[in-house]
């Protein structure tokens, strides 16, 4: 159940919400009950629907997320995106991403692991184990959202692939296909989009592979059919529409590091004390709010993740 904390500057938020295409989890559960799941909304599997009818976090195994923050309206999550593969403006992905074909979808797994090969989404993600995770998402551009993701722990996926000890990092790639991703006609970044995590970060229970949000299958502009979510890092670490996973020894050279190494580092942990050279990271605007709020160290997940970086100088390893 959501506990909604009202801040003084939030006062009009509810009004905004009621105007928009928004349904809360409770409404959703009601709708699902009345109208029969599946017809009410675009659900992906009966398993997911079942989880939602239960109205508990689908698996309750790990509930590390802070669900007290008000969730961002669905229409904002699906219309305000950085996904340069579909264009540079925030509303380009919602306009252009329909050209992406997500079925069928294969993911190539290679590198230091026992089970390399080609996997369908269903082979990597156990749709019977889907959980809801309500996470803050802090963009490096100093705005943020609260998103109820649906997915599985990344560790579950990794365990299936059985990386060997020499795998020190996990590396991801987004699809590269200009036919489906018209934004790739321009070389704004070197395609394909590349991201990576240290293995211990990837195995952390907060890291998830998401296939949905707000109880629905991911929209293409949000990274369908599967994407990474690492809530204590800036949003750009959340690589979308993944087609490749590699287990590697060397630290991957990720897309934003290639583009501007002095501005974007490999770790990209949310850190209000380390500013972007061109703007402060000390505060952020939560989408839907009027005033800025203070940015939290590790996006508020410090208690759970700070240990990963013991002894590291986070000013240098930004």
């Amino acid at each position: 159940m959501l506990i909604k904390i009202k801040n003084s500057w939030d006062l009009s938020e509810k009004d905004v919400t009621s105007e928009e295409d928004f349904f809360s989890r409770r409404d959703f559960v009601k709708a699902a009950g009345i109208m029969g799941v599946g017809s009410a909304v675009n659900l992906m599997t009966p398993a997911l629907a079942g989880a939602y009818q239960a109205e508990t976090p689908p698996s309750g195994k790990y509930n590390g997320s802070d669900i007290k923050d008000e969730q961002t309206v669905l229409s904002a999550i699906t219309s305000y995106n950085n996904f340069y593969e579909f264009g540079i403006e925030k509303d380009d992905p919602s306009k252009n991403a329909h050209s992406l074909v997500t079925k069928p979808w294969n993911i190539t797994v290679d590198g230091h692991c026992e089970n390399p090969g080609e996997y369908a989404v269903e082979d990597l993600v156990n749709f019977n184990a889907l959980e809801e995770r309500i996470y803050r998402m802090r963009c490096v551009e100093a705005w943020s959202m609260v998103i109820p993701w649906v997915g599985v722990s990344l560790s579950q996926v990794i365990e299936k692939l059985k990386p060997s000890l020499s795998a020190r990092y996990i590396y991801f790639e987004t699809l590269e296909d200009v036919e489906q991703m018209p934004g790739q006609a321009r070389n704004i970044i070197q395609w394909p989009y590349r991201e990576g995590l240290r293995m211990d970060e990837a195995m952390h229970p907060l890291s998830i592979m998401a296939v949905g949000l707000y109880g629905r299958t991911l929209e293409n502009q949000n990274g369908a059919p599967l994407r990474l979510v690492v809530p204590w890092k800036y949003g750009f670490k959340g690589v979308k529409s993944i087609v490749k996973i590699s287990f590697v020894e060397e630290k991957p050279n990720t897309s934003w590091m290639r583009l501007a190494p002095q501005e974007y580092g490999f770790f990209a942990n949310v850190n209000p004390a380390v500013s972007h050279p061109r703007w402060s990271q000390a505060s952020e605007r939560r989408i839907g709010d009027f005033r800025r709020r203070k940015t939290l160290m590790f996006n508020g997940y410090g208690e759970m993740v700070a240990g990963l970086y013991d002894g590291m100088d986070l000013r240098r390893n930004y």
């Binding site: 009009s12 009004d15 905004v16 105007e19 229409s75 904002a76 219309s79 305000y80 340069y84 540079i88 925030k90 509303d91 551009e141 705005w143 321009r186 704004i188 970044i189 583009l259 500013s275 050279p277 061109r278 703007w279 402060s280 000390a282 505060s283 605007r285 989408i287 839907g288 009027f290 005033r291 800025r292």
Partner: protein, 206 residues
């Protein structure tokens, strides 16, 4: 009559973006559907910043247009320059009021520590100076110095184009277009200057 009409046309066209953004902001404040995206303040920053640059480039285009086409546009130059000031003011106010809500410590940190903002701020300061000395009586009072002072617009334009280039995250296409137009306009001045000097030299020889 014709002059009045074209003046009216120029003012109408120039104020349209301001009216549009004002209307959209009103919709936003009234919780009505609007075009400002999920992050209206950033949208307003981009919108007003881009219109400031466009009007600055337009202002700088008047002289070349007059020289090349003989259209009598000079009388509109002040108005167009003041529209650049209007959009610059909106850009600045949006930053101070909506974006940072008068959080002076953050604003001062931004201006001092971040060169991109320093360039924008310097540009805006020059724009203010030009706007308040743009009246007829200040022009008469300043005499020859007025022309010199208003050559600040070249530095101003370079400064804000650098600001524009530095503020975008990855796609530098638009700022590069601005920079290209500005370079052409500035090179044209250099050419004018050079040919004037040559004329003078020739005359002295003759």
């Amino acid at each position: 009559m014709e002059k009045k009409l074209s003046r009216l046309l120029i003012h109408t066209l120039s104020i349209l973006p301001a009216l549009w953004i004002g209307w959209q902001i009103w919709l936003w404040y009234s919780f009505l559907p609007h075009e400002l995206s999920a992050n209206p303040i950033e949208y307003i920053t981009d919108f007003t910043g881009n219109w400031t640059i466009r009007f600055l480039l337009l202002t700088l285009s008047i002289t070349p247009l007059v020289k090349l086409t003989k259209w009598r546009l000079l009388k509109y130059r002040r108005a167009i320059g003041l529209y650049a000031f209007l959009y610059g003011l909106l850009h600045f106010l949006n930053y101070m009021m909506l974006d940072y809500f008068f959080n002076w410590s953050l604003i001062i940190e931004d201006v001092l520590k971040r060169p991109a903002i320093t360039f924008g701020m310097a540009g805006f300061a020059m724009l203010v100076i030009l706007a308040i000395t743009s009246f007829k009586f200040t022009k008469i009072k300043l005499g020859k110095n007025w022309t010199k002072l208003h050559q600040l617009i070249y530095i101003l334009a370079i400064s804000v184009t650098v600001h524009n280039y530095m503020m975008v995250k990855a796609d530098v296409l638009i700022p590069l277009i601005h920079a290209t137009i500005l370079s052409i306009l500035l090179l044209y001045r250099l050419y004018l200057n050079w040919s004037k000097r040559r004329e003078r030299a020739k005359r002295q020889l003759a």
